[in-house]
């Protein structure tokens, strides 16, 4: 019983379905408790914290270059976004202007990562939906992106592309790489177009995903959802518009109205061509010149914050520098609020749709499990 003497929904509902801790719906260890009445989910509770590695603690006191490459290991999907933002914190604090060519390469990497994250989401969504053919096709398209990422970054997952003052020399875009990028973009654009046609014209898939896992605009704003999850409910918010580095590029910000699984999947399908558009512009207009500026000097700074838009929402990195070492690091990833939204999206659905509602918000538990909250328990 809580303070108002009103029983919580969890306490009156007897049937409970628990998924976890290792469950195929999300690969990662987490636990969902669904409270079910007449096969309808009435309440949901999600527990995270199983893969807490204390990255911020490990970062404390490390030299800033080491700490930057550690942030990359927060998440294997948006690894580039983490190192990019972490480097940007140091650059802001030390007032370093990076060469223009370096910022173009960073954008190309960022958008390639958005492509691979969205394709992974679509493939995973289709797999949970039960449409394996679509899933396999999307994995196959994703391989093209992974090849491009490997070509530029030298590895399929951890690229270590950004360093303070620019990008690593091995990530230089020469003519052969630019040509391969162009070819890759053509292939992806053609294949994703074919996929989109089949996807929206498949009546069975459409009827399965329409109206499932609805998140209303009000709830999304109340729970502070970010990224595509928020945009799928009709809120036009994308940090890329405010980021200086994206100024030279022309792209649209996609929004959908319904906030259900269909809106979320379509969101990603429509965002992929926008990313391709950005990459094409970047490849075409890339200025020549150096890619790394090494003329900076280390100094002490106060706490600096930096926000960027990553494939899944808004990412914050913040730390202070003291004699070249990192102090008081804070990372806040988009999934932490999207998971609250996902908990809400489960409610009111049939139990068989709960898995879809969970996947819909694109949760990433690896990057979420960092903060710990210590609460006093009174006995």
């Amino acid at each position: 019983m809580d303070k108002n003497d009103k029983a919580k929904r969890q306490e009156v509902i007897e049937t409970e379905v628990t998924m976890g801790t290792v469950h195929p719906a999300a690969l990662e260890p987490y636990r969902v408790r669904l409270f079910v009445e007449d096969e309808i989910v009435r309440d949901a509770e999600i527990t995270v914290g199983l893969n807490h590695r204390g990255i911020e603690r490990i970062m404390e006191g490390l030299p800033v270059e080491k700490a930057n490459s550690l942030t990359e290991k927060i998440c294997g999907i948006c690894s580039n976004s983490h190192i990019w933002n972490s480097v940007m914190v140091a650059e802001k604090g030390l007032e370093i202007e990076i060469p223009e060519r370096a910022s173009y390469i960073r954008i190309i990497m960022g958008e390639l990562e958005r492509l691979h994250s969205h394709l992974l989401y679509l493939a995973h969504g289709n797999e949970v939906l039960g449409h394996e053919t679509f899933a396999m096709r999307l994995f196959f398209i994703r391989e093209t992106v992974m090849e491009l990422l490997r070509m530029i970054g030298g590895n399929r997952v951890q690229y270590g592309c950004s360093i303070i003052g620019g990008v690593r020399p091995r990530c230089e875009l020469d003519l052969m790489r630019i040509q391969k990028l162009n070819e890759g973009m053509d292939i992806i654009e053609e294949k994703i177009g074919q996929f989109a046609d089949r996807f929206v014209s498949d009546p069975i898939v459409m009827s399965r995903i329409t109206g499932v896992g609805v998140l209303t605009k009000k709830d999304a704003l109340r729970l502070a959802a970010t990224g595509p999850t928020l945009r799928s409910t009709g809120v036009d918010m994308d940090l890329r518009r405010d980021m200086e580095i994206y100024d030279p590029f022309d792209f649209d910000i996609i929004t959908q109205q319904d906030g259900d699984v269909k809106a979320n999947l379509l969101m990603r399908v429509l965002e992929i061509p926008e990313s391709i558009k950005i990459i094409r512009q970047a490849v075409k207009n890339i200025p020549s010149g150096p890619i790394t500026d090494r003329s900076w000097e280390m100094q002490d700074t106060g706490i600096i914050k930096s926000y960027i838009e990553v494939p899944r929402g808004k990412l914050l990195h913040s730390y202070a520098l003291e004699e070249g070492r990192v102090r008081g690091s804070i990372v806040r990833t988009p999934s932490i609020t999207n998971i609250a939204a996902m908990q809400h999206a489960c409610i009111g659905n049939h139990i068989s749709d709960a898995q879809l509602a969970i996947v819909q918000c694109d949760p990433c538990f690896t990057c979420t499990d960092r903060a710990i909250k210590i609460t006093k328990i009174e006995i």
Binding site: P29, R57, G76, I77, F140, R156
Partner: protein, 148 residues
């Protein structure tokens, strides 16, 4: 070859357990090894999520304190004969999470995997390359097939 080992060689089920790495290795294993390009199913290795069905356990990540007990339980639930593949730098030696500070141990990490459950094949890399996972899985097969 007895009919049992004949059929066993044609239906090896692998289960993936994630124990706190960065997700890079898992995605490489599930989505690449089982997707059309690398396709481990052509070697008759299938993915399952049920430990009682599994023959091969693929473990990624440095085994965080919270994951130690679930990992042991999953290992115990798999029927004999079984093989364990540790994939990725994290699973082999704790990765950056355990070692970046030098000799100071991290309090969050119980791993590497070897200290929790016995390991038969090791696949290095951060993140593992799909080709290496294929090689590791094939290297672990004799243990399964040799047992009566």
């Amino acid at each position: 070859m007895s009919i049992k080992s004949y059929s066993r060689a044609r239906a090896v089920h692998a289960m993936l357990v994630y124990t706190g790495g960065c997700n890079g290795c898992d995605i490489e294993i599930v989505n690449t090894v089982l997707s059309p390009k690398f396709d481990i199913e052509q070697y008759k290795i299938f993915l399952t999520w049920n430990p009682r069905e599994a023959d091969v356990l693929i473990v990624t990540g440095p085994v965080t304190k919270h994951n130690e007990k679930p990992l042991k339980e999953i290992y115990d639930a798999i029927p004999e004969p079984k093989a364990v593949i540790a994939a990725g730098a994290c699973a082999l030696m704790g990765g950056v999470y355990k070692n970046i500070h030098g000799d100071i141990p991290s309090e969050e990490i119980a791993g590497p995997v070897e200290e929790v459950i016995p390991v038969d094949a090791k696949v290095p890399g951060c993140a593992v390359r799909p080709q290496d996972v294929l090689a590791g899985a094939v290297a672990a097969l004799p243990k399964l097939l040799g047992a009566k």
